[in-house]
Symmetry: C2
Subunit: 171 residues, 2 copies
């Protein structure tokens, strides 16, 4: 695995025409996007966003429970006041259950790490879901009810379709 060996060459092309070097730190649209790490998602392009306009938090599933630290920093220090949560069709999070993944990790543990791994992994919730639309609604509810999130935050929930590139609001 050596994808990183292409980074410098590819990046030098990008840097040649780079013109956005003076953008301020706070996102100009006061917007934070939470979306999945999925390789088929380009958060900026698919929403017509430009550099400098929005924070983008990405993790497995686009789960907000795993984004609270980032949301606090984004809101309290960098002024964002709107959160849009995106989950997507064909997500890997629809394909497994936490107990099963715990077993995969524990069963492949080197003997010298087995106890340590079991202790950590048995307390890890992988935040998978079985109902895509419901998972978005759950995450929007989580944010609206969370006292760590600023009270007047505008929170919306969306599904991105990886097959046709379209977004649909569901919350």
């Amino acid at each position: 695995m050596s994808a990183h060996k292409d980074f410098v060459a590819n990046n030098s092309q990008y840097a040649e025409t780079f013109k956005e070097g003076d953008l301020p730190i706070p996102p100009s649209k006061k917007l934070l996007i939470v979306t999945c790490m999925d390789a088929r998602i380009d958060a900026f392009s698919s929403l017509g966003l430009n550099l400098g306009e929005a924070h983008v938090v990405r993790n497995a599933g686009g789960r907000v429970q795993d984004a609270v630290r980032s949301i606090i920093i984004s809101q309290r220090l960098l002024g964002t006041r709107e959160i849009a949560v995106f989950h997507h069709t064909g997500c890997g999070m629809l394909t497994f259950a936490t107990p099963q993944l715990r077993d995969i990790v524990k069963n492949s543990a080197a003997p010298e790490h087995a106890t340590e791994i079991a202790q950590v992994i048995d307390q890890t919730n992988f935040l998978e879901f079985s109902d895509l639309e419901q998972s978005v609604k759950d995450d929007v509810k989580f944010l609206k009810e969370n006292p760590l999130v600023l009270k007047d935050t505008v929170v919306t929930g969306w599904i991105y379709d990886v097959h046709d590139g379209k977004v649909k609001q569901v919350a």
Copy 2:
């Protein structure tokens, strides 16, 4: 705040020319990028990556400690075997300390949530850093030494410069 009101119109332009509807779930380069949520970073474009090639995990600072759940899912269920960690110049994480942010959150808490908020926030490490290059090295070390990360994972560490769009390998 209503940036979301433009999503559907902007997205319909994107969807009109969308041609990548048949990509498989596993990233074709078996690569996972960890980078910051910063609004000035376009992970795909700046590295010349195409849709479908890499998972992208983003959080405040691009800290790997906050990405372990996603990394396990990416490696064990979706086959990635390389991790590239990117932090960047001008990062908000260089501008504050955890105790200070804890105070900001606690001081603005509604009285009815004050106890609950204090309990959570006093246990939250915001993972800020004071030395950019060292923070990348620390994160690469964390991954290399973490038994939850697959043993033969290729891990590299990088700095992205938001002022000229260039990347530099530091670990």
